[in-house]
């Protein structure tokens, strides 16, 4: 039995609907306007609210605001106007759905029974998420913005640089850009951080037979492989700086010369590069030459971290579990409480951490059961690192943070100032100056 609040200004409708809902075995309380409804919400907790969209003292949507955050109450908006449907759909979260008048008994039954069913039950028929550009999942505002950018840039030939924390899905966005471009060539991905200085040239530009020891045959580089397609260069900032002039030449002249070769080979592909460093950091730390940066980041796109789009977590979790179900022939389903648990965590490792967590939960659970077993707390061995940076709260001055970092570094190296300066990437002189300014340098130091 559910406790239902029915809000509608049409008393005759209330009357009949009450009879029907009571017959369905639920307890019903009624209100004819917002004020009454708000009163009820103060006194009672409801499992379900059936809410007319247009009420004499305002829109039914105002009642949603009176619901406490994270309230388990399910809301069904009833509207007399089919066109309102679209607006409501955009406005409301997963716990809100709508019916269009005139409504029938079956409509009410269905709306009320949704509360008892896990929300994913219907998802087995139709997926609860849309894959934008065939790859991207999420309906949050920042993702909509991202889709707009991807849509725009895919119509051009511009090189894209993807910025974002580790695990946000840079490679997925790169694949989405490739898919949206509808180009003829393939999508080729390589990781610039994964090759030694000696091998990266061969990976990118290819080599001729006998170019170096072990080069038994000739090899096409990724630029050639991605002809008329998309080349994804991951961890571009990890590329050895002395290899970057070679890359620049390829980007400028659109030709490659294989290692050990002399022939110039024309290449034509969009380069999507990615880094988990912030733009300011790239500029400051000189991991990327400025001229290369401007060639690669014609169109920079920043991918938001998962904690800034928590409303997408249920959709992503749903996608991952469906994927695992398909792979393993299991029938796991999320319980709504579990999804809330997922949403309350900050996911410092972003979508990758979420996927890993879902995967682990699926392994831990009984494959015969539909229920997933989640550990009581979500923890990542990498979370500690994140704690340190989450100590970086807005409102602190750069000086303060700098001071803290300097002392933390000194502590780590047992007070060895030369080593500390090296780790901090500043000169020993600068370090001394700073410490002096903090008034923490005795004369014998």
């Amino acid at each position: 039995m559910l406790t239902v609040l029915l809000v509608d200004d049409d008393t005759e409708f209330l009357d009949v609907a009450c009879t029907i809902i009571e017959f369905l075995g639920h307890e019903v309380l009624t209100a004819t306007n917002l004020e009454e409804a708000k009163d009820w919400l103060q006194k009672e907790t409801f499992d379900h609210i059936l809410l007319d969209f247009m009420l004499p003292d305002g829109s039914g949507l105002h009642l949603l605001e009176s619901l406490p955050d994270g309230s388990p109450t399910h809301v069904t908006l009833i509207t007399g106007h089919p066109s309102v449907k679209g607006i409501i759909k955009d406005l409301c979260g997963p716990k809100v759905d709508y019916l269009v008048k005139p409504i029938q008994r079956e409509d009410i039954e269905q709306a009320l029974s949704q509360k008892n069913k896990p929300r994913t039950a219907s998802a087995s028929k139709k997926p609860a998420f849309t894959k934008h550009f065939g790859h991207l999942i999420g309906e949050s505002a920042c993702m909509q913005e991202l889709y707009k950018l991807v849509g725009r840039v895919s119509k051009t030939q511009a090189n894209v640089m993807l910025l974002g924390e580790s695990g946000v899905g840079k490679e997925v966005v790169a694949a989405a850009i490739h898919a949206a471009s509808e180009c003829d060539g393939p999508y080729v991905a390589t990781n610039c951080g994964a090759f030694s200085k000696e091998l990266i040239g061969s990976e990118l530009f290819g080599h001729e037979k006998g170019a170096f020891t072990g080069a038994v045959g000739k090899k096409e580089g990724v630029f050639e492989q991605a002809e008329n397609g998309t080349l994804f260069l991951d961890e571009i900032t990890e590329m050895p700086i002395d290899m970057q002039p070679n890359l620049l030449r390829v980007l400028e002249n659109k030709v490659v010369i294989r290692v050990g070769g002399t022939k110039t080979i024309p290449v034509n592909c969009r380069v999507v590069s990615a880094t988990n460093r912030a733009m300011e950091e790239i500029a400051e730390s000189k991991v990327l030459r400025e001229d290369i940066y401007f060639r690669l980041a014609v169109f920079p796109i920043t991918i938001p971290p998962l904690r800034e789009r928590k409303e997408d977590i249920p959709m992503l979790a749903e996608f991952f579990i469906q994927q695992l179900n398909d792979e393993n022939g299991t029938q796991y389903q999320w319980q709504s409480g579990q999804l809330e648990q997922l949403c309350s965590y900050d996911w410092p490792g972003n979508v990758r951490e979420l996927r890993h967590f879902v995967h682990r939960a699926a392994i831990m659970s009984d494959p015969e059961s539909r229920e997933l077993e989640l550990p009581k707390t979500i923890e990542s061995p990498f979370a500690k690192k994140q704690n340190l940076s989450s100590g970086l709260k807005a409102g602190r001055t750069i000086e303060e943070v700098e001071k803290e970092l300097i002392y933390a570094t000194l502590e780590k190296v047992d007070g060895n100032k030369t080593t500390a300066a090296e780790m901090l990437g500043i000169s020993t002189k600068t370090l001394y100056n700073r410490l002096h300014a903090y008034g923490d340098l005795s004369d014998n130091d």
Binding site: D10, E12, F13, V16, A17, T19, G80, P102, I103
Partner: protein, 77 residues
């Protein structure tokens, strides 16, 4: 039809839909009564209400037509 008139039409149609909404619910009640889920006399009451609502719906549609009949308003052209 200008924008103001269209807005008025929307409101009127919304009002005209109200009895339809009631009728639907009453019909559900009658179904339940016929299936023996609620007492049979409920069906009789519900049917009376359906008839009343049909009349009311018809009236509001007639007045709607009157409202939009050209030349009936005092406005001069």
């Amino acid at each position: 039809m200008n924008e103001q008139q269209f807005e008025q039409l929307q409101i009127d149609v919304h009002d005209a839909r109200r009895p339809l909404n009631r009728i639907t619910m009453q019909a559900e009640l009658i179904k339940m009564a016929l299936q023996g889920e609620i007492p049979a006399e409920k069906a009789l009451q519900a049917l009376d209400k359906v008839i009343a609502e049909c009349k009311s719906c018809s009236e509001s549609l007639s007045s709607l037509v009157d409202k939009f009949r050209p030349g009936t308003e005092e406005t001069t052209e």
